[in-house]
Subunit: 217 residues, 2 copies
DNA sequence: ATTTAAATTTAGACAAAACTAAAAATAATT
DNA sequence: AATTATTTTTAGTTTTGTCTAAATTTAAAT
């Protein structure tokens, strides 16, 4: 149907457009895709010809309905494969991303519907991100960044914003994991760092950490 | 490491060189790869530059030791994925090939070693073909084509030569499956067709069938 | 309102992997 | 041995996705 490159662009546009209502800029896409702006312009034109995006020169790019659907299909596959790798193949959550980046492009409806069934229809991937169903629907959880909580508030860790291997390994080392209860014990005004209670442990974490952890109150 | 196309060529050369000790001809490779002879020449030169094959103009192509190793790695992945699809995702043996053709190119050592473990180190794929281990070693079963058996001889069905969906569906329809015992009851001299007893069933099969079934006596 | 800076697009080139058409080498026939 | 047929290679294009360098447009700063 679509090339590897086209699929990756659609996914990147999807992720970038979440942050604002404006069109996705050429430079932002180039950064996300690790390529040059000129290459982005070329590809965006092609996607526009295929009616996957809406694009006007210098105005940024928007996903069309069919582009959005295609992006969600790839995201669904990516996240299902991540679940498979963690649940069945003993991968840890910091190891799955690159492999899922490849697996998400395998073309087979049956493969993905059977995988979904095999995994017992998971609702979230190992990083807490929602898995769209076959129709592209998914529930957006009402979650808050840990950095937005005040002293005394508590909730459950339901997701991470930064999914880099480095950050995830830091969390592992400090026994910070999905599903655990976190309470803000104190916040330092100077640098915004927090003292948090996470189950039996109590530790101080920087804003780089608190701004990348999602809490459900 | 290697491109999709390079990997597919190596695999094709591996499969073609099994049949004879001579080099694999350009035309044979073109046929196998569903492409033109001129494209094959180009690619073979590239593989030769990378020391994956030994190639002299007009003399056919041979896999080098490193080319052979690479081919076996891909075949290992292909067959492990086929087992996964059949054993875990309810695919039938005639549905797995195309998907495995894509999955075999996913690059991750851990993925494949964990998949191997998850499947409990299978020795053969759903078509009876041996699965090389991580070192590329595998046992070649001593098997005979059903067409080479004589009346009265019997053995176990251990593999199929033709793995096309059409042939496999024919076998399913007639309850001919891996592991079953087959006995040759009679052979028609005119067209070579055989009357075979397979467990409870008795049926007549053509040479197109008998020449594509492997038996272990 | 100009000027300067930043973002974006165009023009031209390149590598990978394919193709067609023509040339060259090898194999098969007379 | 000479001719013909087949196989294989070369030469020249094409497509996809990328790049650099230059031109253009938009945004920011005097
Ligand atoms: Mn991921
Ligand atoms: Mn994820
Ligand atoms: Mn196969
Ligand atoms: Mn097989």
């Amino acid at each position: 149907m679509f090339s590897l490159s086209e699929e990756n662009y659609l996914k990147a546009i999807f992720h970038l457009q979440k942050h604002s209502t404006a069109g996705v800029s050429t430079n932002a896409l180039a950064e996300e895709m690790q390529t040059k702006a000129s290459s982005v312009t070329d590809m965006v034109k092609k996607l526009s010809d295929k009616k996957l995006v809406v694009y006007k020169k210098y105005q940024g790019v928007y996903l069309s309905e069919s582009g959005r659907k295609t992006a969600l299909k790839i995201i669904r596959k990516h996240r299902l494969w991540e679940v498979f790798l963690v649940e069945k193949l003993n991968f840890s959550w910091d190891e799955v991303h690159d492999v899922a980046e490849e697996l998400e492009h395998i073309k087979s409806e049956k493969l993905i519907s059977e995988l979904d069934k095999f995994l017992d229809y998971p609702k979230r991937d190992p990083h807490g991100d929602p898995i769209p169903d076959a129709q592209g629907d998914f529930q957006v959880a009402n979650k808050t960044l840990l950095s937005d909580l005040s002293t005394g508030e508590k909730g459950t860790l339901v997701g991470v914003k930064d999914t880099s291997s480095e950050f995830l390994k830091y969390l592992d080392k400090n026994k910070i994991a999905l599903g655990k209860t976190i309470e803000v014990m104190d916040q330092e005004k100077f640098d915004g760092s927090m003292l948090i209670q996470i189950e039996k442990n109590r530790l101080r974490v920087s804003t780089q950490v608190t701004a990348n952890i999602y809490i459900k109150i």
